[in-house]
Every structure is written in C-alpha cells, then in structure tokens.
C-alpha cells in the first residue's frame, strides 16, 4: 500500500506537467529572491546610516563634559535612562573604571561589550558601536542591531509570503494536469504493452474533443499499430499463400510417388528409389512445416488459445511415449516430477512438442545406452523443465548458435534432423514468456526451460 503510494507519487513527480510546475516555481523563487534581496540590502544600508547619525549626535552631546568626573556623571545619567538592550553607554575612565549600563573592553579586534554585574541583559543581536577618546578615557556608544535583524526577518517573511501562493498554485495545477495526463499516458502505455505482446488489434481510444499532443501521439500509435497489423496480416497471408501454393505441388508429388511405389514390385531397386524419393519429399514437407510453425509461433498468434496446462501431466505423457523407444536403444528415460500439478498458462500441444523435441535431440545426438533424465521442479517461484543427457554435450561457444534456425553442429551433419527442433523449442519458450538455456551436464547437455513465476506474465 505504502509502496504503491510512493510509486504513484514518483510517477506524478516524474511527469512532464509536474516537472514544468517545479521549474516555474524555481523561476518565480529566483526572481522574488533577487528583487526582495536588493530591497533588503538598500533598506539595511539606510538603517545603518541612521544609526550611525544617531550615535554621532549622542556622542556630540557628551563632548561638553570637560573632565572624566563630569563625563562619568553625564554617562551614568544617560545610561540609567536607556535600556542596554537598545543602546549601551560605557565610559572607560583613565584609571580603567567603567561607567554606564554595560561593561566594555578594548580588544585587538574592536570593542567587547558585556553586561554589567547586576545589570540588565544586553541585546542578543550585537551592537553597532561608536568609539571616541574623550576626557582622557574612552567613550563607547553602541546601538542594538535588533532593528536590522527584525528587518531581515520581515524580508524573509515577505519572501515566503510572495512564494507560497506561487508554489501552491503551480504545484497544484501541475498535479491536476499531471493526473489528468497520467490517465491518458497510462492508456497509451497499456496499448503499447499489448501491441508488443502481439495483441495487434489494441488501439488507443480516440477522443475527438482533444487535439493536444497526447491525442496526436495516440493517433500516431494507432496508425503504427494498424500498419503493424496490416504487415502481420500480409505476412500471414503470404505464408498461407506460399503454404498453399507450395504444399499443393508437394501433395501432388507425394501422391505421384506413392502411386509409383505401388506399381513397382517390392524389393526392387526402383522400389527403393521411390521410397527414398518419398522420404525426401516428406523431409522437405517437414522443414517447410516447421518453418511455418516457428514463424506462426513467433507471430504470437497462438496466444489466443492459451489455457492452464499441467506441465507435470505433459512431462509424464511425453516420457511415457518415448520410454519404450529409449529402452530399445539401451537407455533409461527417467522422469522426476514435483508433488501435485505444475500449472502454466499456455498451449498444451506446443509444450508437449517442445519437450518431445528436446528428448528426440537427446536420442539422436548421444550414443546408444546413454540415459536421459526429464526433471520438472519449482524454483524461485517459477517452474523449470529440464532434459539432461550423458552425450558429448555442446561446446559453450556453440550453445547460442544451435538455437538458430537450420544451424547444425559439424559433428551432427550425419545424424538425422533438420536443424529446426531447438529453434522451435526456443520459439515456443518465447511464446510462453519462458527461456530456453543450454548447460553443461559434465558430461552431456542440459536443456532447460525456465517458466517465470506467477501466471500473469504468460497470460497477459
């Protein structure tokens, strides 16, 4: 809940209108700071000049006293009438005695003013001093800096007052606009997500009342999606046409070859040739069929028929199908399953075929007698389906290559197969949001299908 709130706040803060609002606030703040700052500096300067003039006038009043004694009387009279928090008077007589409402001492840095013992407290903000030698001693007058401090506070308050409405209005308007835009951006994002998942019929809802940038982006997204959909449809149509136009002659060829074979006496050389021709034609059909199927799977169209599939049941079924064939070759085909079903959302037929392809690869590319292990387990919230053999394995640098269509290892050129089996498995994995990876079984190969945790990814 908190994380969600933080996420949505982060999204609002990261939105364009919000960033513009923050930028506006910054500009207003800088302008106010500069104008108010200049005004403050000027006012402060004149306030200090007034203080200086005031002090000088007072100082002149004391010059009538001719002797230290007279000056002391004069100073203590003035000092008694004044609050040392506002103004201090201190006369340091030639003998070092201090008269006034504050104690003062000359230091190398200037004057140090401190409260008289038993006297009233001094100003917290320091003093603006005037020092003169008089009647053999030193007379120190000091005006409290409190008014200047108050002036600073007043200006800070002014700054805050002038900024507050700007900040509130800018950020508020930004948030409202951002919220409104966010719903529409979310809509566009959702449509783009659907499109990238292969749902090419997804469109941003049109809003004829709006003609702004987001509306234009929506129109462009829709245009792009329509183009993509048309291209995919064209590709599908071309595939279907090619399939039809090529498969029909292949059908006729197979038909004629079967016919020919029927007319030839068994065990003759001609019959063997006809059978080889039939096998070649069937091989061509197989490659053709597999290529079309991979293209179709990669197109994502098969997602429409997705349903919950129990991988444990699929693994058990395929293992049952292949076990006798493996045993004929002196292999043991073992299968280890988790307790209970391991459900993924997908296409049962394709998943079964993917597992069958992995087992057939193991049967074909490893020496007879080598065991094959099928393992299904839950791992890190996801599901892992593995086929492991004890054959020569695939060198690490070749593992990426063998997933490519029609690629075959040098040593496999003589074994049957069309080089499309693993490509089909990889395409099926991709369709299900799963990953096909190849690992070393030391010795042998592990082909691993890792299905992501949760059902939402594959199903969306």
């Amino acid at each position: 809940m908190l994380a969600r709130l933080r996420r949505s706040l982060k999204r609002v803060a990261g939105s364009t209108p919000m960033r513009q609002a923050i930028g506006l606030v910054a500009v207003v703040a800088v302008v106010n700071l500069v104008t108010l700052g200049l005004a403050y500096v000027n006012l402060r300067k004149s306030a200090e000049e007034a203080m200086r003039a005031n002090l000088a006038q007072h100082m002149a009043g004391f010059q009538v006293a001719a002797s230290p004694g007279a000056l002391e009387i004069l100073v203590s009279a003035e000092a008694n009438a004044a609050d040392p928090a506002d103004r201090v008077f201190a006369f340091v007589a030639p003998d070092g005695r201090v008269t006034g409402n504050a104690s003062a001492a000359l230091t190398p840095n200037g004057v140090q003013i401190s409260p008289m013992p038993e006297g009233r407290p001094l100003s917290d903000y320091g003093y603006f001093p005037l020092i003169e030698r008089m009647a053999g001693g030193i007379l120190i007058l000091g005006e409290s800096r409190a008014p200047i401090h108050d002036l600073g506070e007043t200006f800070l308050a002014l700054l805050a007052l002038s900024l507050a409405p700007t900040v509130l209005i800018s950020l508020g308007a930004g948030a409202v606009i951002a919220g409104r835009a966010r719903r529409r951006v979310d809509g566009i994002e959702k449509v783009l997500g659907q499109l990238s998942q292969g749902a090419l019929e997804a469109r941003v809802p049109a809003d004829p009342d709006r003609q702004d940038d987001l509306a234009r982006i929506g129109v462009q997204v829709n245009r792009m999606a329509a183009a993509q959909q048309a291209a995919t449809e064209a590709l599908r149509q071309v595939s279907a046409d090619i399939a039809h136009d090529l498969k029909t002659p292949l059908q006729r060829m197979t038909v004629l070859l079967h016919d020919l074979r029927e007319r030839l006496p068994d065990a003759g050389e001609e019959a063997a040739m006809a059978e080889r021709a039939i096998a070649e034609a069937e091989g061509a059909v197989g490659v053709f069929h597999a290529l079309l199927q991979i293209a179709q799977i990669e197109g994502g169209g098969a997602r429409a028929g997705f349903a919950p599939v129990d991988l444990a049941a699929v693994a058990a079924e395929i293992a049952d199908l292949y076990a006798p064939a493996a045993e004929e070759e002196g292999r043991r085909l073992s299968v280890s399953l988790p307790d209970g079903p391991a459900t993924v959302i997908g296409n049962k037929g394709l998943l079964g075929q993917a597992l069958a392809n992995l087992i057939e690869n193991a049967l074909r590319h490893t020496p007879k007698g080598g065991d094959i292990e099928i393992a299904l387990r839950r791992e890190g919230g996801g599901t892992v389906l593995e086929v492991a053999d004890r054959g020569p394995g695939i060198p690490a640098e070749e593992r990426a290559n063998v997933l490519r269509r029609l690629y075959r290892l040098e040593r496999s050129r003589t074994t049957p197969g069309n080089g499309l089996g693993l490509a089909l498995v990889a395409a099926t994995a991709g369709l299900h949001g799963a990953v096909l990876s190849l690992h070393d079984n030391a010795p042998g190969l592990i082909a691993r299908l890792t299905f992501p945790g949760g059902q939402d990814r594959a199903g969306r």
Partner: protein, 240 residues
C-alpha cells in the same frame, strides 16, 4: 434414423460402399483422391466450389464429407459451421495446406470431426474416412471387445487370449482397446498418436512403432496367429 442398421451392414459387409462428397479446388489432388476412393469401392461426388459444395452437402445422403479449408466461394470452416448450425451432422474431415498451431483445434471447434494436413498419404485419408463413417453409425456401448480368440473386458480391465490372461500396462491396454474398437480398419501412426496420446505432432522417432511392437510381444508372440497386422505405408489394424 431408420436407415441406421442398413448403414452398419453396408459398412461392415462390403468394407466401404460409402457415399462420399469431396469439396476440393485443386484438380490434381481431387482427381487423385477421387480415383483412390473409387478404387476402394466408394461412390464419390466432387465439387470445386465451397458454395456448390454446401448446397450439395445440405441435400444429404452422404456418409462422410471431405472438405478443403481454402475454397473459392465459401471457405471450408464457414461451410462446416453453416452445416452444423443447420443440424446437418454428417461427419466431416478437413484437408488443409496450412497446418498452423491452432488450426486443428479451430477445425474441430467449427464442427469438423477430423483434420488432415497436406501433403498426406492416401492411406492416411482412407483410414480416417473409414473411422469417421463407423463412428457416426455406431454409438453402441460395448463392454467386451473381441478379435479371434482374444477378448478384452473393459469393465474388469482384463485381457485374455486362448484362455490365458495377458498383463498389459495402462497405455498398452489403451492402444489395444483403440485397435479393437476399430477392428478391420487401418489405424495410422498419427491417428494412434492423436487418440491414444492426445498429441498432434509428427515425432521424428519411431515411438508409436515401438509401443506397437511391445504390445505385439505380449499379445501375439506367444500365440500362433498374428492379430495386429502392419499395413505397409499406412499403419496397423486388427482383422476381425
């Protein structure tokens, strides 16, 4: 359905005096299918246009329809859908050049009874047509299946031959049951894969052959006569 018993007789006695309708626009394929089916003794009507085919199929009287999916006029899927919504239940098999991932399911959902991807061997089509005709004509629930001296008790799940009990694994039992239920008719490898294992892809390994040879080792090897026969280039059958 008073014609039902007659059809059973026809199918069983002459092994195929069926009336078939082929709707296929490719002349070579059509000629080949028509020729092959006529040689087997069936009566075959052929039309190349989807619309004409639908009208003809509505008229009725056919045992099985053979329908190409891509047709001029009206495509095969729509044709079968239209027939089914008009309560025409004659079994239909689709022929297709596409063979896509979900095409088979699509075809069956549209109301088709079987699905065959081109190119196919004639034996495959012939075997499937025989199964469809029989399926439509025989809704009888049997509890004991027999062939020669072999008998399968479906309730006790027990198989005996010549008085001796034969122990079968569940999958072997299912395979034998499938063949017994279609006694006298050829079952191809792909048909067995589809019905016994519910798989519709073409394995590159002889998996079905191995299963059949295991079954044979138990059912036929200890006895004189072979019940499960190999039909070259087509599949397997148990003779009645």
């Amino acid at each position: 359905m008073t014609t039902l018993p007659v059809r059973i007789d026809a199918a069983e006695t002459t092994k195929g005096a069926m009336k078939l309708l082929l709707i296929e626009d490719d002349p070579t394929t059509a000629a080949y299918i028509v020729k092959g089916l006529r040689e087997e003794g069936h009566v075959v009507d052929h039309l190349a246009d989807g619309r004409d085919g639908m009208v003809q199929a509505m008229a009725g009287g056919y045992d099985v329809l053979i329908v190409d999916r891509m047709l001029p006029g009206i495509d095969g899927l729509s044709l079968i859908r239209a027939l089914r919504s008009a309560k025409v239940t004659v079994p239909a098999i689709f022929l297709t050049a596409i063979g896509g991932v979900d095409d088979r399911i699509e075809g069956l959902q549209a109301g088709g009874d079987d699905y065959l991807v081109k190119p196919f061997a004639f034996g495959e089509l012939s075997a499937r047509i025989a199964v469809l005709a029989r399926r439509a004509a025989q809704p009888v629930a049997e509890t004991v299946l027999t062939a020669g001296d072999l008998s399968m008790d479906l309730i006790a799940r027990r198989v005996t031959r010549g008085g001796k009990t034969i122990d079968l694994l569940p999958r072997e039992f299912a395979l034998l049951e499938h063949l017994l239920r279609r006694k006298g008719r050829v079952q191809t490898r792909t048909m067995l894969l589809e019905s016994v294992w519910d798989l519709s892809f073409d394995p590159q390994t002889n998996v079905v052959e191995t299963h059949v040879s295991r079954l044979r080792a138990k059912v036929d090897k200890p006895f004189d006569r072979e019940l499960i026969q190999t039909v070259r280039g087509a599949g397997y059958k148990i003779e009645g």
